[in-house]
């Protein structure tokens, strides 16, 4: 089967980062779910910390550096996206949102997306639903019904027995199914002329 590109965006800031840990678990689970469906996947992980200055510069100047442009192209061209943020002040991190703010308007339209977040306690569990999901709905992405929130406690105990594991597998299965189902079309070229001058003159 054809190769699918899977891009993982992790907005964790510390090293090592539990956000990155969750992102990796989601990626591994998605790759194996894709394998069960007969597909292979290239995985590229983007640690937003590495792009922190470039993202700010893009906000200020209106265009990305070469390095950030490459990352944005990977996101725009992905067959599936795993987006994971830490919970800061009850919501996604500023860096995570700033990154989404420099992603091209149409880049994620129709892209299957799996949402993940980490947080100190389970009291933030619905943050993904009330804060992150609406942003991706705005971007026109196909967001997997299951999102994965991991509190610090979830990383404790027997890996195979904790409820987090089951949730990861279910979410990964949903993303894999969408990745197989969705035919991505190329993102529109902002410099392409889409109307004739006669249409422009007529005000159509």
């Amino acid at each position: 089967m054809s190769d699918r590109s899977l891009v993982v965006v992790s907005a964790g800031l510390s090293q090592p980062s539990s956000t990155r840990l969750l992102a990796d678990q989601l990626a591994v689970a998605t790759v194996s779910a894709l394998e069960k469906l007969g597909a292979t996947a290239d995985v590229r992980v983007l640690e937003l910390r590495d792009y922190a200055r470039d993202i700010t510069n893009n906000l200020v100047t209106g265009f990305p550096s070469e390095q950030l442009k490459d990352a944005l192209s990977a996101v725009a061209g992905a067959n599936g996206l795993i987006a994971v943020t830490p919970t800061f002040r009850g919501s996604f991190s500023g860096l995570f949102k700033s990154f989404l703010d420099v992603v091209d308007d149409e880049a994620l339209r129709g892209t299957p997306v799996l949402l993940g977040a980490t947080g100190g306690t389970a009291r933030h569990s619905l943050m993904l639903e009330h804060a992150v999901r609406p942003v991706f709905v705005y971007l026109g992405s196909v967001v997997a019904p299951t999102s994965v929130f991991a509190a610090t406690d979830d990383f404790a105990g027997d890996v195979q027995l904790v409820p987090l594991r089951a949730r990861i597998d279910r979410a990964a299965g949903e993303l894999a199914a969408e990745v197989i189902r969705c035919e991505r079309t190329a993102a529109p070229d902002p410099f392409a002329l889409t109307t004739s001058f006669d249409q422009l003159l007529a005000g159509d």
Partner: protein, 376 residues
């Protein structure tokens, strides 16, 4: 090839002194800068049009008329004239008037403006931005070419038997450029009319300019105005020079770091790598500017942004001395030697008048030849 400067007319605090000049001083400085441009042998002075602080130039034809009276050779232009929010009837009249007073030393660059709130200040709706640019220009184009105009559009009251006055000098409308950063519709508009296309170029990676100029050239040929490499292209540039490049970097850095457009973001080094901004010696400016040709093709007009971000007038005038004495003479010679013979210069009033007269003479000859044929 034409070389000149374009001014935004911003009133910005000088970050090295913490002082901000008055609007009056800024307006007078713009005039001094224009006069200096002529003195050092530049061809073009273009000024922006803005209707909100921190910018002063709300009335370009007043300013350009004043400058016209005090110069002899300088070509006066705009960067840009707001085709969206200005009434095309007023543009037609104001610039025809200026054209007479300046004995033809006038052209214009159309633009849509860079701020949304300006639209309602002039009774317009930003949601019609592109459509205003298209419809208003279509009307302006006719007002300068037809003595009596009947017109009906969607975004302005209809005109019945209207004659805009005065008629353009010698019946030759001012040449028009269309300025844009990333709207392909504007490149298409310029190509459709066979007008010039000016790529802002500064503040953006060169790929933007390359794509837009490429589109314009291709469509210029499509509409039958000539081959793609004969299309009339202008580019912006932004430079700061000292004899010693380290001095240029040291002196310009605080202005860069605090500049309204890109300040507090990328470093000077990053921004000069990513955009056409060049900070260094006159030779570095020469080399970088010659390189624009590699991705824009042979082009007709190069305008530099020299007075912004709070740079004092004295420094700007020194920059113009360097530009006029050390940079432009070399660029003029180099670009001219590189440009093939079939690529035209930017049109001027004199060249447009000569072309029209040559065309008229050809038609007379053709009619005469036709009449001779009828006798045989």
């Amino acid at each position: 090839m034409q070389f000149g400067i374009f001014s935004v007319g911003d009133v910005t605090e000088d970050p090295t002194t913490g002082t901000t000049i008055s609007e009056h001083d800024r307006i007078k400085a713009m005039v001094a800068i224009a006069l200096k441009a002529e003195e050092v042998g530049l061809d073009v002075f273009a000024m922006g049009e803005h209707h909100n602080p921190p910018f002063v130039p709300s009335s370009p034809t007043t300013t350009l008329g004043f400058i016209a009276a005090r110069t002899q050779k300088l070509l006066l232009s705009t960067s840009t004239t707001l085709i969206t929010t200005n009434d095309p009837v007023k543009i037609a009249e104001d610039y025809a008037m200026l054209q007479h007073l300046a004995d033809g030393r006038v052209d214009l660059m159309m633009g849509r403006g860079n701020t949304g709130p300006v639209y309602p200040w002039f009774g317009q709706d930003i949601r019609n931005g592109i459509q205003l640019a298209i419809e208003h220009y279509a009307l302006l184009h006719r007002l300068w070419r037809e003595d009596v105009v009947d017109w009906q559009g969607k975004l302005r009251t209809p005109l019945q038997s209207f004659t805009s006055t005065p008629r353009p000098l010698d019946g030759v409308p001012p040449f028009v450029w269309h300025g844009s950063i990333r709207s392909p519709e504007i490149a298409e508009q310029a190509a459709y009319y066979g007008d010039g296309f000016f790529a802002n170029h500064i503040f953006w990676p060169k790929e933007h300019t390359q794509r837009m100029v490429g589109l314009y050239r291709q469509r210029f040929e499509h509409y039958g105005h000539g081959s793609a490499d004969q299309a009339i292209v202008g580019l912006g540039g932004q430079v700061f020079m000292r004899k010693n490049s380290q001095d240029a970097v040291r002196e310009f850095r605080p202005y860069f770091d605090n500049a309204p457009v890109y300040g507090h973001g990328p470093s000077l080094e990053e921004f000069t790598a990513q955009t056409p901004l060049t900070v260094g010696s006159p030779q570095q400016v020469i080399d970088r500017t010659l390189g624009f040709r590699d991705y824009a093709g042979d082009y007709q007009r190069q305008l530099f942004l020299m007075d912004h971000a709070g740079l004092p007038l004295k420094v700007v005038l020194e920059q113009l001395d360097l530009l006029g004495e050390e940079v432009v003479p070399v660029l003029r010679k180099e670009f001219d030697s590189l440009r093939p013979a079939h690529v035209p210069e930017a049109p001027t009033h004199a060249s447009l008048l000569a072309a029209r007269e040559a065309n008229a003479a050809e038609q007379v000859e053709a009619v005469a030849a036709g009449a001779d044929g009828a006798h045989e």
